[in-house]
């Protein structure tokens, strides 16, 4: 049900763009106003979100550790699993962000018939997640060819490698196929596994359908329906040059659907679970070095507490203690 509502929501979004451009001829709204708005919302509210996170104190070191902590020099310690300094954290974060190391440890826990608890490998989520994120990144980088006048060599290289197989015309991008496949898996996983279905919410399904819609509209536009791509670049270049204008040659409506879904994603991004893009860099269980023993960390929330020491206590009651025959430290 949640999945169906999310699916319908994305259909409605696509329909809004279709009606807005094809029927009401609001090219300027959908081609200029909404993209600017979406990018502004994305950048501003991402910053707001990050500052909000940054303003909560980190009183304790709480990194998850899976290895020996640095202690005495002759005890071998685990630099990546239990980092003791900046370098270790950088290495750990690089592996986490680029290769999802912690997800690689994902296990399948099962109770066997003879009531033995067993753990098995479960790498599918990791593999699909990695395929999805990397494809998405490559697709994003590739799209820079629409936003740069002299397309940087790095972007052209990425594009060349992505279309390396030279299948069909226009050349098939491998990442297009990988992204669609991976996201289909990620969706089916939520539907097929009962526990996952129970846990999944609207805001899990909606981004999946939205990104699927973006990828599908892009694939349709590139390989099947086609549009005047030069006009598209004229539009995008006018946008990034802050002199927006809708090109004279009409751009087909599939482009505006693609664009509107992307704008939705951009505007939705800072308020959804997708902010894990920034959050991964700010999770205390990952980015903190385990220096609990080496350094003293003081809780910034601490307020001055009036302390009544034992010496003071004894000063107050020394006579009574002596009368009662209790030992005192100071005569």
């Amino acid at each position: 049900m949640k999945a169906i509502i999310s699916f319908i929501a994305v259909l409605i979004l696509a329909a809004i763009a279709y009606v807005g451009v094809d029927v009401l001829n609001m090219q300027y709204i959908f081609g200029v106003v909404i993209p600017y708005l979406a990018v502004a919302i994305f950048v501003i509210f991402m910053i707001v979100r990050i500052l909000k996170w940054g303003s909560s104190p980190n009183p304790f070191r709480i990194p998850t550790t899976c290895g020996q902590q640095k202690s005495l020099p002759w005890i071998k310690y685990s630099k990546l699993e239990n980092p003791s300094g900046v370098l270790g954290v950088l290495g750990r974060m690089a592996l986490e962000v680029l290769f999802f190391r912690s997800l690689f440890r994902n296990l399948k826990t099962q109770l066997r018939d003879d009531s033995q608890l067993t753990y098995g490998e479960a790498k599918w989520l990791w593999a699909a997640g990695l395929a999805f994120h990397w494809s998405f990144l490559i697709i994003l980088v590739r799209h820079l060819r629409f936003f740069t006048q002299q397309v940087p060599a790095a972007v052209q290289l990425v594009e060349m490698l992505d279309s390396f197989l030279q299948i069909g015309v226009p050349l098939l991008y491998m990442t297009d196929a990988v992204l669609l496949g991976a996201i289909t898996y990620l969706f089916l996983r939520r539907i097929a596994i009962p526990q996952m279905r129970y846990l999944s919410l609207m805001n899990d399904y909606f981004p999946l359908f939205l990104i699927f819609g973006i990828a599908l509209s892009g694939v349709l536009m590139r390989y099947f329906l086609k549009t005047d791509i030069v006009s598209v670049k004229m539009l995008t270049m006018s946008l990034v040059g802050f002199s927006p204008s809708i090109p004279q040659n009409p751009i087909s409506v599939i482009f505006y659907i693609h664009l509107f879904l992307i704008c939705t994603l951009f505007a939705y991004f800072p308020f959804s679970k997708l902010v894990h893009m920034a959050g991964v860099f700010m999770s205390p269980t990952r980015v903190l070095a385990n220096t609990s023993r080496v350094k003293r960390h003081i809780n910034p929330w601490n307020y001055p507490v009036h302390v009544h020491t034992y010496a003071e206590y004894e000063d107050d009651f020394r006579d009574k203690m002596k009368n009662a025959g209790l030992p005192v430290e100071k005569e």
């Binding site: 950048v43 990050i50 500052l51 940054g54 909560s56 820079l144 030069v230 990034v240 802050f242």
Partner: protein
């Protein structure tokens, strides 16, 4: 609002803004050269004189978005089926399926025709990996 680990967070934010706004500052100071296609080669002018208008094998709009697919189909048709005859869907005229002796016969100005859009879009078709590039006279380059 107090920021904890503010230095690191600000560095991160700067990196984020730098990446997110990359297209906005990358193009500053670069000439926004839009593609300008020239369709006034002698062959096209001769065609215009004979038939009264400029026309390609299909309509302009169709060629604009489908030419790569058309050329791919032509290649398959010629190489696999030995069929070199193309009948236009728009005019019903017959054309010789050939890049060098067809397309480039009229559009002999590759630099001012093909390359205009391809360079603009950073597309590198592999036509001329096999085919011979047309010889262009100096006056066509301008």
């Amino acid at each position: 609002m107090k920021l904890y680990d503010g230095g690191k967070i600000l560095i991160g934010l700067m990196v984020f803004v730098g990446i997110a706004t990359f297209p906005f500052y990358y193009n500053i100071g670069k000439v926004n050269a839009k593609p300008e296609l020239k369709t006034d080669t002698p062959a096209i002018q001769a065609w215009e004189k004979q038939y009264g208008k400029k026309e390609c094998v299909e309509s302009k709009e169709y060629m604009r978005s489908e030419h790569m697919q058309l050329l791919n189909n032509w290649r398959d048709s010629v190489v696999r089926d030995m069929n070199r005859q193309y009948v236009s869907m728009t005019s019903g005229r017959k054309f010789n399926m050939s890049l060098q002796n067809g397309c480039l016969e009229c559009h002999s100005n590759k630099k001012q025709f093909c390359d205009q859009c391809h360079n603009y879009m950073a597309v590198k078709p592999y036509c001329f990996d096999c085919h011979i590039q047309p010889m262009e006279k100096e006056e066509n380059k301008s």
